[in-house]
Symmetry: C2
Subunit: 202 residues, 2 copies
């Protein structure tokens, strides 16, 4: 039975959709209930009924961004068998996703830059999200080891760190220099990483 | 004869110093002549005498940030002989520099995130700066090839792209997760890059 979405949930979804878009334009830290109320044509008190505070709204937007990433990147890649096939699928979809983001780019990466020096619930959430990504990437490496596709002493955490660097370098260069050649450079970097992976100290 | 600094130049330096600090707090895009005048205790018209428009002030701040990077990172590293010694010195100083930045982190990297979707003189300047860095890094790789320390068919541009990714991944993780272990991960990544560099298609 399909889950029916209540009117309240639908409104919440629409608010988060507008919130994502506004966060891309002005940055997550500038996303306030007042600004967003104006954008969606609701009263501030109406918005407060859904999000009691600015931080709650900002967290909601971050979770919505993560949800989209999960739907459009991770879930699709996880249809591939464990091991390098899944890793390459995730990497490729992730790259395409960062390049295809509307103006303002990846909300989560931008927010990490904005909040890395602002202690509080948003930074804590971003840090937790980041740790989760690194762990998830390390698990993909571990599965490739189990599948016999990478050496047994591959350093999973180091592999995840370097893979993330290729994504960041691609995101940075594609967006700033408007040159999609940097997507190819990231793919080449992943193949080099796979062909000669970092090893755990013996 | 030491170059004497006029009062006008000294004032300009002080304004840029305060501008750098304010840009770290609020982002370069929010750096306006009015905000900065308040910060330095000058009149808006006084500031206008030094920087005729917001963009001119923002460009001045970006150039001041680059100047510091050149003084504290590049110039020091260039005392090392050409080749891997210079590359390792630059990389190490660059990493330390990103980790040691005051709250707000690297002004240039932050600005790249803010302006990558805002066409105009600031984005053009950032893109040019970025191309210059990639070319400079590729030159360091070329010098290591000439010194016989890297294979002759090393792909200089790909090497530069991946090296930049290690810096970005380290900057991102150290600042967000407050874990300097990621500096070590970047160094390990550079050694892997040197030990098994990307090759030009044959």
């Amino acid at each position: 039975m399909a889950r029916s979405i209540s009117k309240g949930e639908a409104t919440r979804e629409a608010i988060l959709e507008a919130g994502l878009s506004l966060a891309r334009e002005v940055g997550l830290s500038a996303l306030t209930i007042g600004e967003l109320a104006e954008r969606v044509g609701m009263s501030k008190s109406g918005l407060f009924a859904h999000f009691g505070a600015k931080e709650e709204l900002q967290l909601g937007v971050l979770r919505a961004a993560q949800q989209r990433f999960d739907d459009e990147v991770a879930r699709q890649a996880f249809r591939e068998p464990r091991g390098l096939a899944r890793m390459r699928a995730l990497f490729g979809r992730w790259l395409s996703w960062t390049a295809a983001q509307p103006q303002g780019g990846c909300v989560i990466l931008s927010a990490a830059g904005e909040f890395d020096d602002r202690p509080g619930v948003i930074r804590d959430h971003l840090a937790q999200q980041q740790r989760g990504w690194l762990q998830g990437l390390a698990r993909l490496v571990g599965q490739a080891i189990e599948a016999g596709e990478l050496p047994a002493d591959t350093d999973e955490a180091q592999f995840a760190f370097e893979l993330f660097g290729l994504i960041l370098s691609s995101h940075h260069h594609v967006r700033l220099l408007s040159d999609v050649g940097f997507l190819q450079a990231a793919h080449a970097g992943l193949e080099r990483l796979i062909g000669n992976p970092p090893r755990r100290p013996g």
